[in-house]
Assembly symmetry: C2
Homo-oligomer: 210 residues x 2
DNA sequence: ATTTCAATCAGTATAAATACGGATGTTATT
DNA sequence: AATAACATCCGTATTTATACTGATTGAAAT
């Protein structure tokens, strides 16, 4: 049985070393390297091609955890990142999930949970604890409060704009004149307090209107 | 102790009635009405102002589950929707979570889980089972694969476009000519296979580029 | 050494969006 | 009954964006 090779990435030396000591107790886990930022991490990953897991802190200097997750995702590695963070805010968790984290643990997790998670993730499965998933879901649903600022017609027009239709095409499809659509567009832009269509679409997705 | 008042919304009569029978066993639950679409649901909600929970199917005629979730969210009711669906795809689950569902159950859930969920949700807490949360997380991370299709400059320009800056403003800020920015924009639009800036911004947010 | 590609700039022409105006009938709300 | 909000429509002028073709430089890859 080969051990699970992993790297610990955290800018706090005490935490890094403590975690290392802690994992020595488990025969099926082998800590290959300790690094303090994303740059060092990728150097180590170059050297060792058989790393299964990275225990990853979010707040690090130079290249932080989010950037690491992104970089790992765009490369086609089979390195599976487990985020270990002190932040339990939903937006952190959601961002990590979105960017390909295999798990999200808080720094006050007990070691049984940690080793359990490492073993599950090593098997290729993602594992988010119920409390963590709950925080994420709460965050996601909070994100959208505003629905009533736009009229139904405006929402409809907005939807078509976001599909890449031009004013003229929308007008044709809705059996009204282009002027009408232009007015709608202008009103929507005013209501959402943005400068132009590009920013409009961005804001609209942010507040869940499309 | 007051019973938990709830409404069942599902277009399949057999399922609706079966669920109703099933819930009769529990003294703390009172089924107030059975409806077969969103319109009927809101009529009943008008009549009964003390409904705590709606058991909601997604696929319904006239006004489907997503629309119901949205409508409930924009009103300020304290009706807490529990989605009961036969679809276990991540995108369904994520959409429901985003739109304010308090839970998401599959139609093959056993009744213990159902009543447990009803009681938790009645207490005002959201509850998503681990397997359900997992599917959602997998979906979320799948959503973004592409990072390397755009060059760094293109990503930078895209970011500025999404902030609502015009070509001229971007050119000024990056100390290059407007032509350059126009070319970048055109290349980005081509690479992401969209028609114009509006669709571009939408697609870019979908695949996590901004 | 050659190819490939990102980044830069150019001309010309058309299409589309934005900024100002202003108007009318309908529908909710109070 | 009055008011507000909405959806619909129109004009003019200016600014932006898009389409097409084409070019140069330098860096990276093969």
């Amino acid at each position: 049985m080969k051990p699970i090779k992993l790297i610990i990435a955290d800018d706090h030396e005490l935490f890094r070393n403590g975690l290392n000591e802690l994992l020595k107790k488990y025969d099926d886990v082998q800590v290959v390297a300790l690094v303090e930022d994303g740059n060092e991490l990728f150097q180590e990953l170059e050297k060792h091609k058989d790393i299964a897991i990275v225990l990853l802190d979010i707040t690090m200097p130079n290249m932080d955890g989010f950037q690491v997750l992104n970089a790992l995702k765009s490369q086609n590695t089979n390195v599976k990142p487990i985020v270990i963070s002190m932040h339990d805010e939903g937006n952190y968790i959601a961002s990590c999930a979105k960017n390909g984290a295999y798990s999200y643990l808080l720094k006050n997790t007990d070691q049984d949970k940690l080793i359990k998670t490492i073993r599950i993730v090593n098997g290729g499965k993602k594992y988010f604890q119920p409390q963590i998933a709950e925080k994420m879901i709460n965050y996601m649903s909070e994100q959208s409060v505003s629905e009533n600022i736009l009229s139904n017609k405006e929402k409809e027009v907005l939807g078509l704009i976001s599909k890449g239709l031009t004013t003229k095409e929308i007008a044709k499809q809705l059996f009204v004149s282009s002027r009408t659509i232009e007015t709608h567009r202008a009103n929507i832009i005013k209501k959402l307090e943005v400068k132009n269509t590009a920013e409009l679409i961005k804001k609209a997705t942010e507040i869940n209107l499309i």
